[in-house]
Symmetry: C2
Subunit: 358 residues, 2 copies
DNA sequence: TTGAAAGCGCTAACAC
DNA sequence: GTGTTAGCGCTTTCAA
């Protein structure tokens, strides 16, 4: 699949290697070709200011003919702002981050902005190096989707000091008085409990994670629904484990079975834990969902478990889109007032791990 | 968590809103402060050319004192090249792409380059829009990790026409005479077969995917090992299904069971299919791995299945790193000669779905 | 409605 | 070793 190019003198080896690559045309070349000034070309191509229809036509034609392409760098030098949006995340292999990135990118690029990924891992140095780079390349804005440690906050602050707007999108980070997007953990928990109760379950086990705000809110949401709908409190067991892991899910079930009331349905604080729950239940020769219903959170790999996991899905893609939207409004200097705090609703995805009681 | 800033006159509301934000210092300011010329500053800060130790010291000090930060945009305008590397991929939520992206980003940023993600989805327009943007922002290089349709090839070509180096990294795309990185599918297949034979299996079932080069190479690799090690050909069954899906894996097992020789081990062309295999086997009341061993490819979610899947892992992270390396060499104009073709070895990950025969 | 011209901040050729 | 200077390609006054 060879591409043929026009034959030139250099093809016959008689002229130096010079690779005469015709210089990319600039606004100046277009101006010359159209017989107008560069400022006129700028006006019509940039779409601002006035130009007579005739001139406009001529410029357009010349530009097309020359294959003119604006130089974003030159423009940025003048406007003191590139069309780069930085995205801080710990790892792009984390499905949540990937979904956010995709939503972000989609909206950003529809506005002509590029998304630069800044995977910080657990490394604080890395974060500040990215901050540096973003500053040097005159980034237009930055979204943070990382744990909010001190180093990161400092980075955000230095960005803000340079008038680069910043938003946070999911993740424990909180930057004082900046736009923030989160998922409605409480409502997600509420949804999970609602689903189970509607299926007729009355004895509910909940496995939460210690010291996790997200887990706490999910539990609160579930508990709130349960209370509102007359579920006898003594029939609701809440246990707490140390981490969001399969092992913890497993442990959680053990803890639950030590209680007086054996649950007919279990809410795990995320899918990974729900997987551990499934595993433990199988060992105990309890069938899911016939004997026990199980529900997780996140919708991260719920399609892959057997039975397929009923779960509460998080709107990460939308979160990314909203993050872009809010950021872009700030970037373009719209008067949107104070900091904004957006809470996105979660959504129940019913699969195979839950069914009617008895 | 409020950050206190130095009190200024404007704090007391007596001066206009003006936000006197002290203009970011430029090379000029540093020059003035150090009592030298801008070119000297450029030389010491840029690290090229000569400068006496004394001058160097003075410049450094002035730069630090002023909080000088080079303006990447201005530099790019001059050098006609930004430090942006474009990464074309269909979706970042695809784990492979995410891993490549991470490897790519890691190396790229260690060299001071930024990675811009270009998620094309299945949309050809999108690809050319990204190409446009990359051209306009004077990208330094681009890596492609997408299906190689015509539109994308055109984009790559236009990049090349503008002297922007391009490499492909995993994915069916092939750009004539450019560096290319792939995983060694053949060797992966070989590895899978070797593992099973070493466990004592003699009757092997292989489920491949029609019209897939990757699948074909994996099968060839497996077949090759089998032949070399005296496995009776009639005891090896190869069936082909239509897609890389759970359903296809399921179908594959059905196809295999219709054959005379019932396999004691099954190789599925990827993990998704292996999941279907697991499912079908369970329905047939065959235990894995006691009755049948199962092996997949990709290591995409093999930790999540029950039993956990033995699989052949693809070195995507490394692929991303290598892609960055090759690209950077081209970008920095190293004389690395002709197009390079790198084949990365795959790796067997033994989990629970395979065991010794009988 | 259009044009001339002054930079944006940096690099690099050239002169000293 | 160091300084002068001319741009890179664009935007944006200001005048015409």
């Amino acid at each position: 699949m060879r591409t043929f190019t026009h034959g030139t003198l250099s093809d016959c080896g008689l002229v130096p290697m010079a690779r005469k690559k015709t210089k990319t045309p600039t606004i100046k070349d277009v101006a010359a070709a159209a017989g107008v000034s560069t400022s006129t070309v700028g006006r019509v191509l940039g779409g601002y200011g006035y130009a007579s229809p005739e001139t406009r036509r001529r410029v357009m034609k010349a530009a097309k003919q020359l294959g003119y392409r604006p130089n974003a760098i030159a423009r940025s030098l003048k406007t003191k702002q590139s069309r780069i949006i930085g995205f801080f995340l710990s790892s792009i292999t984390n499905l949540f981050h990937a979904r956010i990135a995709e939503g972000l990118q989609e909206v950003a690029s529809s506005y002509g902005y590029n998304v630069v990924i800044c995977c910080t891992g657990l490394n604080a140095n890395r974060a500040s190096a990215f901050g540096q780079m973003l500053l040097e390349s005159q980034a237009a804005g930055v979204v943070f989707s990382v744990p909010g440690d001190e180093a990161v906050i400092r980075v955000a602050q230095s960005l803000l000091d340079n008038d680069i707007p910043v938003v946070t999108c999911h993740g424990s980070i909180r930057i004082p008085s900046q736009d923030r997007i989160v998922c409605d953990d409480f409502q997600g928990g509420y949804l999970a409990a609602k689903h189970l109760v509607e299926l007729g379950h009355q004895r509910i086990g909940i496995i939460g994670v210690k010291d996790s705000g997200t887990s706490a809110r999910r539990i609160q949401g579930a508990a709130s629904f349960l209370k509102e709908h007359g579920i006898v409190p003594s029939r609701v067991s809440i246990v707490e484990v140390v981490s969001y892991s399969t092992e913890s899910g497993y442990t959680g079930v053990k803890l639950l079975s030590a209680r007086d009331e054996k649950p007919s349905a279990i809410i795990a604080a995320n899918d990974l834990m729900a997987l551990g729950v499934l595993e433990c239940l199988e060992e105990m020769e309890l069938r899911v969902p016939e004997d026990v219903s199980v529900i997780g959170f996140d919708d991260s790999f719920a399609e892959m478990t057997r039975p397929r996991l009923t779960t509460v899905a998080l709107p990460m893609y939308e979160a990314g889109q909203v993050a872009a939207q809010l950021l872009l409004e700030r970037i373009e200097g719209k008067d949107v007032g104070e900091e904004r705090f957006i809470t996105l609703p979660e959504r129940l995805v019913v699969r195979e791990s839950t069914t009617v009681y008895r």
